[in-house]
């Protein structure tokens, strides 16, 4: 089977590569681009460790072919911190609130939180729990993850308010 050229924007940079039709987006990100933030967890679309943001949607990159992402705009966890290394408010929240233990689910949690807070900037705890229901964590019991999301929402809203003033 023939290889195909794909091109997409990842973390603000235009990238391209040659892939087989069957190459999954997660493999393209990790192996072609060296972005090992998105993790391969269950490989069955359940755990959410491979979650990235694609054209304004959270998607599980183990359940998309790279060719489907042609011309799309993707953000992975590597694209969240500022260029000078300052953590994004969501990353800061996970650190401050101890929202991770082993850290395996964290990149997916952060990317899902990123989209959740764009759509619902001030979610209730229940909305947070439903919002991250496609991301599994086997360490924390979720309590501190919910706190981390709340921390990030508060910080992002304060930043937005200050910018408006």
């Amino acid at each position: 089977m023939s290889k195909q050229q794909v091109k997409m924007t990842v973390n603000g940079t235009e990238v391209s590569g040659e892939v087989e039709g069957r190459t999954l987006l997660i493999h393209f990100l990790r192996e072609n681009l060296g972005l090992t933030g998105p993790h391969i967890g269950c490989e069955t679309s359940h755990c959410g460790a491979c979650t990235v943001d694609l054209d304004g949607r959270s998607v599980k990159s183990c359940t998309l072919f790279a060719v489907q992402a042609q011309d799309s705009d993707i953000t992975t966890v590597e694209g969240m911190a500022a260029a000078d290394g300052t953590l994004h408010a969501i990353q800061e929240g996970f650190m401050q609130e101890h929202g991770l233990q082993c850290g395996f689910c964290t990149p997916g949690m952060i990317m899902r939180t990123h989209r959740l807070l764009q759509e619902n900037p001030d979610p209730t705890d229940e909305e947070i729990r439903w919002g991250i229901s496609g991301n599994l964590c086997r360490c924390t019991g979720y309590q501190n993850i919910v706190k981390a999301v709340r921390y990030a929402a508060k910080k992002l809203n304060e930043t937005t308010r200050e910018a408006a003033e």
Binding site: G21, R22, G48, K60, Q68, G131, S133
Partner: protein, 287 residues
């Protein structure tokens, strides 16, 4: 878990997609949201040699009202249906059902067309479309034709759709203003298929039920339209005895599998419980 290799096509028009299917026959599959097909390909339970991605065919996406009907393009995603103002106002049971499907990431990708055309008895939209009296619009090499959702499903993964056809849209009459509705789904966890689920839409007038339709998910190898249970409620005030009767009639048509979701007898009973709860809530919501 690497799928078998395939040639990937991304046509811009429905005609082109239909032609690709005609050219490659059995070896081709269409790709919508991919969240049923890609997992099957990763398990090598499906190995299409030609994959025709429908995502660039703009005419397949969108929700519109056309007189008394609502038309939803096959590539419209669950999350687009959840966000739709038209559906929230005219047919909120779709939002209620879509929110019980999988998880947020999957709902951004999963489409109505994929959900109803795949023929998976675990999917939630087929029973809902039967409840709504929907019609599926299919496009094939010889033109388009329409099949009622209530006669579309033959067995698990077997439907009225022929090889070479593409489901392009779903159309259904807008439920009457003030209708009551509920979709009740018992599942073991977020993302699971139903142990049993029931969709109910009903209309009341002067304290009496004037129309009702009930359909069931995942308690047989196809979705089930519960005609007798629906008929039992029409013309009544939906009193306790009538509800008991409708529940028994609905339970009577189930033929669930015994599997990880429980033994068949249990799933039949749970279908009854879901029907009972859905009737109750629909009755409370009806104006």
């Amino acid at each position: 878990m690497i799928p078998g290799d395939f040639e990937y096509y991304r046509p811009n028009s429905l005609d082109e997609a239909v032609k690709l299917l005609a050219t490659h026959g059995d070896d081709a599959r269409v790709l919508a949201g991919g969240h049923s097909l890609i997992p099957m390909m990763k398990l090598r339970l499906a190995a299409p040699e030609h994959l025709v991605d429908l995502r660039d065919i703009a005419s397949l996406t969108g929700i519109s009202e056309d007189g008394g009907n609502i038309l939803i393009g096959a590539m419209t995603t669950q999350s687009e249906m959840i966000a739709s103002k038209v559906l929230s106002e005219s047919c909120p049971i779709i939002r209620e059902t879509a929110l019980l499907i999988a998880d947020p990431q999957v709902r951004y990708c999963g489409t109505l067309g994929g959900n109803v055309a795949n023929g998976d008895p675990g999917n939630d939209m087929p029973a809902l479309m039967q409840c709504l009296g929907a019609t599926y619009i299919l496009q094939g090499p010889d033109g388009s034709r329409e099949v009622a959702a209530r006669s579309f499903y033959e067995a698990a993964y077997f439907t009225e759709m022929n090889d070479g056809e593409i489901l392009t849209a779903v159309r259904f009459p807008k439920p009457t203003a003030g209708h009551g509705y509920a979709y009740k789904k018992l599942k073991r966890k977020v993302g699971d298929y139903a142990t049993a689920a029931a969709a109910v839409i009903l209309s009341m007038k002067d304290g009496n039920c004037v129309s009702v339709s009930i359909a069931l998910t995942n308690v047989a190898d196809t979705p089930l339209y519960a005609q007798a249970a629906s008929d039992a409620l029409v013309g009544t005030a939906i009193d306790a005895a009538t509800v008991d009767q409708a529940v028994a009639l609905a339970e009577g048509i189930t033929e669930p599998a015994s599997d990880g979701r429980g033994p068949a007898e249990y799933r039949t009973k749970m279908a009854g419980v879901m029907v009972r709860r859905a009737i109750q809530e629909a009755r409370e919501r009806a104006q």
